[in-house]
Each structure stands twice: as structure tokens, then as C-alpha cells.
């Protein structure tokens, strides 16, 4: 098995509206190593959410994955049936959504909703099943059962076990008195607790990959700090891979190991968190850094905003999507989107300034025109 849990290759997702094709994700590729947190950062309309909804195949009509491969643990998710995808969703890939107020069903208790997920996806382990089989008195039937188990077929978890498991995970995410609180309805939970319950729901089937789509944006800073702390703990203890989508650079710096910067449906730059924060090589990434206040006590620096506004995806600019707002834009930028040039082992930037024929601009490192794979 490869060291990558997820490989996205040339993914394109579009929405076919009355006004025309909205190209939300335009040809993105990346690989994700096991057991890290990948941050995807971008502004609204940059395609960060749609790209991850494509992974879990939750892009609704009129949206469609037009092109590309998504290899998850050796399976191409774009090719499997809806039924198969439903089995994977929740058990192998779980999702945490932005708004904890609307992503829980208000007419069911937390218990109902948690148990439903667990009972649908979780089977008991081989060891447990074997132990159960040994208790069967009829030798003939016992043999058959053991054979079935050895073929990898075990029974689904039952309601009692599911409840135990649900309570265990609620405790893990820090909900006080989970035994009694689990019987409550979502409206009886506060915003932070609902988000914790959703995290518990995502964890409960022990998925290999969790996609968190702006899970802290709707929360207050003090609650956000609690949830980030929880995700860090989960990463350490459970060794799950997490894709974390946000527009907040501070959250990325706090939590993530690797970062992808998206703009206008394309990847602008990717690298380790230190690359992106201390050695940004793309004009857009640099612009983002200058747009947020980093004042030192006693001196105020004026912010340097990025001029203009984000592109219209119905009618995206030709070439690099950032070219109308880029102060370094060259002729080639208006013609062709730049490929990802490798800057170091970990970092690559989609900017023509990295090409060997490009002029030297201060503050940008030259990659020598090596393309990233």
C-alpha cells in the first residue's frame, strides 16, 4: 500500500446553471499523506469546499465531477457506485460541516442520530466475533461461523454496543455526563457542544479520513480554541488524517502540517505550514499575509490589501485566475495558467515567476523551472 491515503488527480467540478457552466474546481491535483492535517485555505468561491465535497461525492445537481480521479486507499471514488460510496461515507471518510445548528436533525435525539450512524457502518472485530462463536454449542454451526469470520464477515454491531460506543466518543470529545446528555435533543445543546457531538459522530466509525469544512467559523473564539484543541488531541491519539478547510490563516497556522492555498478554483501554492507562513512564493499567498494585521506593540503598519475582487467563476479570466489582481502579471499569465513549479521538496507554487525565462523579482526564490510532479 502506498504512503498516501488520498490522491486527487486533475479534478474538475462544475455547476451547470442556467447562466452557463460555473467552473468551481479547475484541474487540481494533490496527494495526502497518512496521519497529518492538511489545511485548505482560500476565500469564498475559491473552490475549497467544492473540491472536498467532490471527494465525498456530495456535489448535488446541477454540480458534477467533470473530470479527474480521486484515489482513496486504492479505490477510485469517481468510478464506484452510489451504493458503495454510501458504505464508505461515514465509515471510511467522515465529514464535519460548518454549521452545527443545521447539520443535526432537530427532531431526533443525539443518541438516535449517533447510533444510526454507528449501526449502519460498524461491524464487530474479528476477535470479538471469534469469542462469540466459541460459545455456540452446536459444533457444526460453530465451525460454519468460524469459517465465515475467517473470510472476514462479522455481524453488525447491535444497539447496546452502539450506545456504549456513542457514549465513549462523546466522553472523548469532552461532553460532560454523556450518559444523560445523549438523550437530549440538539436544541438543548449549545453551539460548541453541538459541534463536539458532530466531531464525535464523525469519529465514531473510526474513519481513515475526516473532512472538516470550516468547523469553527460559526463559533466564538473561546469555543473555537476548545474545538481546535480537541482536533489536535484526536490527531495525536487516534492517528486519523484530517482535511481542514478554512479561510482563517490563524487557524491554519495553529493546527495544520501541510497547506494548500486555493484561488479561483485552482491551487496557487502548496507546502508545509512553515513554507506557507515564512517563505510564501506566490503573489496571492503574499498578498493574503499582508492583508491581515500583524502589528507589533507600539507600531502600526498599514495593511496592504489585494486590489480588485475575486474572479467571476462563470467567466473566469483567461490564464492564471489571479492575473487581474496581480501586480507582477506578465504576458504569459494572461494566456496560460501556470503549472506547479517545485521550489523545494515540500513546496510548490503555480506562478510563472518561477519559470526559468521569467525576470527576477525581489523577494521571490527561483525554482529553476522544475515542475512539481
Amino acid at each position: 500500500m502506498s504512503e498516501y491515503i488520498l490522491e486527487v488527480k486533475n479534478l474538475r467540478t462544475s455547476f451547470f446553471t442556467h447562466l452557463g457552466e460555473v467552473q468551481a474546481v479547475r484541474d487540481i491535483s494533490y496527494k495526502l499523506k497518512k496521519g497529518g492535517i492538511l489545511g485548505i485555505v482560500g476565500e469564498s468561491g475559491s473552490g475549497k469546499s467544492v473540491s472536498s465535497l467532490s471527494i465525498i461525492r456530495l456535489v448535488d445537481s446541477p454540480g458534477k465531477i467533470v473530470h479527474g480521479e480521486i484515489n482513496f486507499d486504492g479505490i477510485d471514488l469517481t468510478k464506484i457506485s452510489t451504493k458503495k460510496m454510501q458504505d464508505l461515507r461515514g465509515s471510511e471518510i467522515a465529514m464535519i460541516f460548518q454549521d452545527p445548528m443545521t447539520s443535526l436533525n432537530p427532531v431526533y435525539t443525539i443518541k438516535n442520530q449517533l447510533i444510526e450512524v454507528i449501526m449502519k457502518h460498524v461491524r464487530i472485530t474479528k476477535e470479538q466475533a471469534l469469542e462469540e462463536a466459541k460459545k455456540i454449542k452446536d459444533l457444526e454451526r460453530q465451525k460454519k461461523a468460524i469459517k465465515r469470520i475467517e473470510n472476514g464477515i462479522t455481524r453488525r454491531i447491535n444497539k447496546k454496543e452502539a450506545l456504549e460506543r456513542a457514549i465513549y466518543y462523546l466522553k472523548l470529545v469532552g461532553i460532560p455526563e454523556p450518559e444523560t446528555r445523549i438523550k437530549e435533543y440538539p436544541h438543548q445543546f449549545s453551539g460548541g457542544m453541538r459541534q463536539r457531538a458532530l466531531v464525535a459522530m464523525a469519529l465514531s466509525c473510526e474513519p481513515k479520513l475526516i473532512i472538516a469544512d470550516e468547523p469553527t467559523t460559526a463559533l466564538d473564539v473561546t469555543i473555537q480554541a476548545q474545538i481546535l484543541d480537541l482536533l489536535k488531541k484526536i490527531k495525536k491519539e487516534l492517528d486519523t488524517t484530517i482535511i481542514f478547510i478554512t479561510h482563517d490563516l490563524g487557524v491554519i497556522a495553529e493546527l495544520c502540517d501541510d497547506v494548500i492555498v486555493m484561488y479561483g478554483g485552482m491551487i496557487m501554492e502548496k507546502g508545509s505550514v512553515n513554507d506557507i507562513f515564512y517563505r510564501p512564493q506566490h503573489p496571492y499567498t503574499k498578498g493574503l499575509h499582508q492583508s491581515i494585521p500583524k502589528d507589533v506593540v507600539g507600531q502600526k503598519k498599514r495593511l496592504v490589501p489585494i486590489a480588485g475582487s475575486p474572479p467571476d467563476l462563470l467567466n473566469p479570466p483567461k490564464g492564471c485566475p489571479f492575473n487581474p489582481r496581480c501586480r507582477y502579471a506578465m504576458e504569459i499569465c494572461l494566456e496560460k495558467p501556470a503549472p506547479l513549479f517545485a521550489i523545494s521538496n515540500t513546496q510548490s507554487s503555480a506562478c510563472w515567476l518561477q519559470d526559468e525565462n521569467a525576470p527576477d523579482v525581489e523577494g521571490f526564490k527561483k525554482s529553476g523551472g522544475v515542475l512539481s510532479e
Partner: protein, 385 residues
Amino acid sequence: MNKKEVLLEVKNLKKHFYIKKNILGKIQKTLKAVDDVSFVIYQGETFGLVGESGCGKTTCGRTIIGLYENTGGEVYFDKKLISAGSEEYALNIQELKDELSLKLKKVAKDDFDLREALKKEYQEKIDIEIEKRNIAIKKEKSAKRNPRDIQMIFQDPYTSLNPRMTVAEIISEGIKTHKLFTGNDIMERVFYLLETVGLKREHASRYPHEFSGGQRQRIGIARALAMDPKLIICDEPISALDVSIQAQVVNMLEDLQDEFGLTYLFIAHDLSMVKHISDRIGVMYLGKMMELAGSDELYDQPLHPYTQSLLSSIPLPDPEANKISKRFLLKGEITSPINPKPGCRFAGRCKYAKDKCFSEDPLFEEILPNHFAACHYVKDINDLK
């Protein structure tokens, strides 16, 4: 720091909402959104108001401008009283009367002496309240606001502009109402304002839906500027915008301040942006002001335990700094402002809380020069003399 002139003074401002009344109209549940908040804003400065959702910062702004009537307290603008409230005294009187009748019920009917004593005692208290109420009503009547002086920029640029009006109509509405300009001058003024906020003349005839979020917020700012205000209340003006657009709007607000000598009350929950734009900052929690200081000082040396944990909760856009920075994680969440218990509002989440915090309201005092905080044990926590 040279003493500047006070532009806006807020004195013991209270805004209560009555959620539940019984059939007799008696109030059973009170939401104390703003409860006894006082501060001043100096001419030409930016005063930041921060806090978590539900802390009353927006209500505070809306009460100052008069979108809500204040329950109690006074607001002075340019040393003139612009609004005052008397409702709290009426409620106090009601409460005293209720208390009296409750006590009377417990006393035996033939114990005339005790009954008389009780009645007399309460009547005295009620008289004091009535006196206060009469003064407050007089003040309320004398309060006069000039609606042009204070303007507001709203949070959501998508809902705060009327979709059926063109940009020119939106901006000129106030000009026409107050008859600031007439005839062709109105359109000239509109064009001038549009150019001031970085839009073009030809945008005047368009409708709000044709603009992006950042541009809409610019229209909202132009509408506020049209009145030549002295104070602009910015209620989360950038929180609905993208990062790269936020910086554009913040820079523009700073430019306008220099050009027109504006004063801002900047309400926001994005603490790093508030620090960037404000000269002084007030931190609110559940309707009370917790701490107030110059922005550098507040971030450098927060005194109140709430401010300390609030500031340490902000993730910094700097991975290495995050690793070494200390976190004071808060337990639990903001409690309900409905019928709050006596004592410090923050006591339930505070790690330093002692018995006194649950029974007695802390006073909002000047702990260091120009640095106020409301905490019983602020000196012990920070090792101050």
C-alpha cells in the same frame, strides 16, 4: 497623551428586553443585554468594542444611535444629552411593591404595628425611586438628538441595502430628507461620495445586486458619509467580507477618518482587526464592560481573567509563535443573559473565582492609569499593589 475632547459619553447605559410577561403584563423574564455600561469616546479616535456573540456589543451601538430606546442611563453627544431612560425606575417601583405585598402576606393580619412599619419602610424606598424617576423623565423629555451627527454602517452588506432602490437613491435618501442639497447638487454630491469610497460615477444608476460584497459595504459607507456625521458606529463592518477585501475596507475607513476627522465606534469580534484599527478598546461580557484600556496596553497587559483567556484564544498567523504561546482555555460557554444571577457575570467560567465573585458585583474601577477593569481580585491575579 494630551487630553482630547470628549465626543460621546455613555453613562450607566442599560438596555433590557422583556421576554415573558404574564397575562397581567407583569414581567417574568428579563434579558439584560446591556447592563450598566459606561465609557467615553474622544474626538477623532477609534473606540473598539469586542466580545463574544451575545455579549451586548451590537445592542450597545444600536441603543446609542437610538434604534433601541434605552431602559436606563444617559448618552451625551458633544456634551448635550441625546438620550435618557426612565423605565428602570418604573420597574424598581414595581419590584418594591411586589416585595412589600409578599412580606405582608407572611405577617399575621392583626399585627398592625409591624404591618405599618413595613409599609412605611417600603413607602420611603418607593418615594426615592419615584423622585429619581421624575428626574429621569424630565431628562428624557429634554433629550434631543441630531440624527445627522451619528451614522451607522451595518454588518451585512447584503441585507442592509434596499434591493429595489438604485445606489443613487440609497445614498441621496438622507440628503433629501434633511434638505442638505437641492436640485442638481444632489447628484453631484452622490458622485462625489461614490468617488470618495472608491466607486465610479456610473455605478450610481445600478442596483445593489450588481455589486460584490466589498462594493456593497462601500455603498453603505457612502450612505453614512452623506450626512456629514461626526461619529460613525461600525457594527461588524468587515466580518462578512473576504480577507483580501477586509484590508481594503479597513484601509479606506482609516483614510476617511484622516480626511473628514471622523470618530468611530468599531464593534467587532475579530480581535486582531480591532487591535489594528482601534486606539482604545472595551471588552464586554454578558452585558457588562469587563475591561477598558488603550489597544496596545490591553493586548500587552490584559488584567481581567476574561480578557486574558479571550486574547490567548486567538490563533496567531504564525506557526512557531503558536507553539510557544500559552493558552488559557476557558471551560464551558457563555451563559444566558436572561435573569442573570447576582455577582460577577464571568464567575462561572473563571478559574480564579471565589465565593465573593458569586455574590457581589465587582466595580468597574481604574486599576492602572487609563486602564479599567471589573474584577474583585484583579490585583491579586496580576500581582499589582
